[in-house]
Symmetry: C2
């Protein structure tokens, strides 16, 4: 968390049904669109909840049993899209990637896209750190005129992101990843066409996650239910800083940290990195059989947190983050400690 965010957090949280708060929300709406690189007529819903709340809001509001969607399921977040389709009775097919399998053009070549209305993608499948090639996806969606829904939760503000240029109709992000804020907000950005055709004027399936209610309230800078006001104020501060520093500069810095770490860690015997494209957000490292031990020792001895994995990856796989308030010297230290634990 940045010092500036901690400053915001140190103040009392104001009452929010005020013109002042509305102004903050409306400013923020425009800032988010600029950051997403989408046009001013796009819509933004800010929902208090995790990224999954954002994914569920989009899937449940936009699709029903007359749709069929195509999901890239390359890990636990792809699986979450699948779960949502099952719960809401939305027909789907999945492109299921094996553990460590790279997403390629060939995965889409045999698929007749005219069977679908939309494609659901976790652009960075966080659970394994694979960044999917957006050009392959964009081309497929444009060829078959599919809506493209992107969970960019762990990629936004770490990797390049050009919503309109890449033909993305709807983007889901959250507050706690590269924005480096407290967890608690999901942010849904939709272009006009997607919002008007797939979200607006539908019979609601839920209340709290009803996107149209959020958009209606956003017109006056408000939310339908009490939002995580604290995190919203952190977000405003962060967006102001992003505009000052420049989105490209922030991404460049994260990229440099990721590249520095990757170069150094590859020099260590017994550690490998998967061969798919990686997001700048995290580096997945493979440390056969030693992941749990390294995770626990780093935490207990040094108070350093790396991200462990669950399930079949548990003993072999760790993820090292490059987002938030970290610098090169932090990685030098981390690499030394990992070496000691091998």
């Amino acid at each position: 968390m940045y010092d500036s965010t901690l400053q915001v957090r140190s103040k009392q949280i104001p009452y929010f049904r005020t013109d002042e708060f509305s102004k903050i929300m409306l400013d923020m709406e425009s800032q988010i669109k600029r950051c997403m690189e989408t046009s001013e007529d796009s819509k933004v819903a800010i929902i208090t909840g995790s990224g999954t709340a954002g994914m569920e809001a989009v899937v449940s509001n936009a699709f029903d049993d007359r749709d069929k969607v195509l999901v890239i399921n390359g890990g636990s977040f792809g699986h979450r899209f699948v779960q949502l389709c099952e719960i809401y009775n939305i027909q789907y097919d999945e492109i299921k990637l094996e553990l460590g399998e790279k997403f390629k053009k060939e995965h889409l070549e045999s698929i007749d896209g005219s069977n679908y209305t939309a494609m659901l993608v976790n652009i960075d499948e966080t659970s394994v750190g694979q960044l999917y090639n957006i050009n392959i996806i964009k081309e497929f969606c444009q060829k078959y005129n599919l809506y493209l829904i992107v969970d960019a939760i762990s990629s936004f503000m770490s990797d390049e992101y050009k919503m309109d240029e890449w033909g993305i109709d709807c983007t889901i992000v959250s507050s706690q990843k590269a924005l480096a804020l407290a967890p608690g907000l999901a942010i849904i950005t939709m272009n006009k066409k997607f919002y008007e055709n797939k979200i607006e004027n539908k019979k609601p399936k839920n209340l709290y996650l009803n996107i149209e209610e959020h958009i209606k309230n956003m017109k006056r800078g408000q939310t339908p239910f009490t939002p995580a006001v604290g995190v919203i104020l952190e977000l405003k501060d962060r967006l102001d800083n992003i505009e000052k520093i420049g989105k490209d500069n922030i991404i460049k810095e994260t990229k440099e940290k990721a590249q520095y770490f990757r170069k150094k860690i590859m020099e260590i015997d017994g550690i490998t990195i998967p061969d798919y494209i990686l997001s700048n957000t995290v580096t997945p490292i493979i440390v056969k059989g030693k992941a749990v031990k390294i995770f626990n020792n780093l935490k207990d001895k040094y108070g350093i947190f790396v991200t462990p994995s669950g399930g079949e990856l548990k003993e072999d796989f760790l993820r090292i983050g490059h987002i938030g308030n970290l610098d090169i010297s932090d990685y030098d230290e981390l690499i030394e400690k990992i070496k000691e634990e091998l």
Copy 2:
């Protein structure tokens, strides 16, 4: 917000998939049950979202088209229960109270409770500040063997609350009311019978608000999705303080503030208070035609926030809070300012 809460907020937010965080969650689960005055075999789900998220989780998870529920609709939060029943196709009847109408025994006398499986009540209907008489409700639910679901969002920790003694099967609260924390958490406490009969082993209707997933994860002190870790740490600190100070002492102090304010404000010509039972949380005051002016002037001239109302109450109705870090002298000042604005 208390100083102690601001202290917690000034620190970096830790990674949460750790044994340390799990221990905090499990401790907190027991503390919440003690605060609710329910037995240790009750279940607690902590959901990142507003109080409405908690209400929706309960209504959508517990009831379906084989249920019929009875709702006391005495304002906008009662109406929210009605909305939820409509969205989820749950049959309901409502006891609709007119604006300012007091809830009485007579409202239930003509109703055949054997038509229902549950009763849904906002124990303090926040929009008008009416605290419903729990004895009337308890008697009715016990007579007809109905599950009693209570939204205690604006009452919990301001008013007495005895979940088991009052025959309440499920309680919904949130972080930002009398707990005086940042908004962002809904807390659902269910007794064993309600959980096992109405929540467990059902086909899920949603993912993010699926209570059973939360309970399964809570067994190891975790949540299914990234929670508002910051607010959870604030909650732990607050619960520790509640146990130190004593729940009864905190409620007594709030009650004294409410009574002090009510006595003083009634002495002012042109201000009245509704004649129903009031929660200690807020005092609703009726200031015919002047509510918007008073709200704006207090805010703009003095940075003092009272709670305005929407709809037909907008010009006449203000609510003055008694929760959080306020003392008697704050009310003396507020009363002087209100006098000036009349």
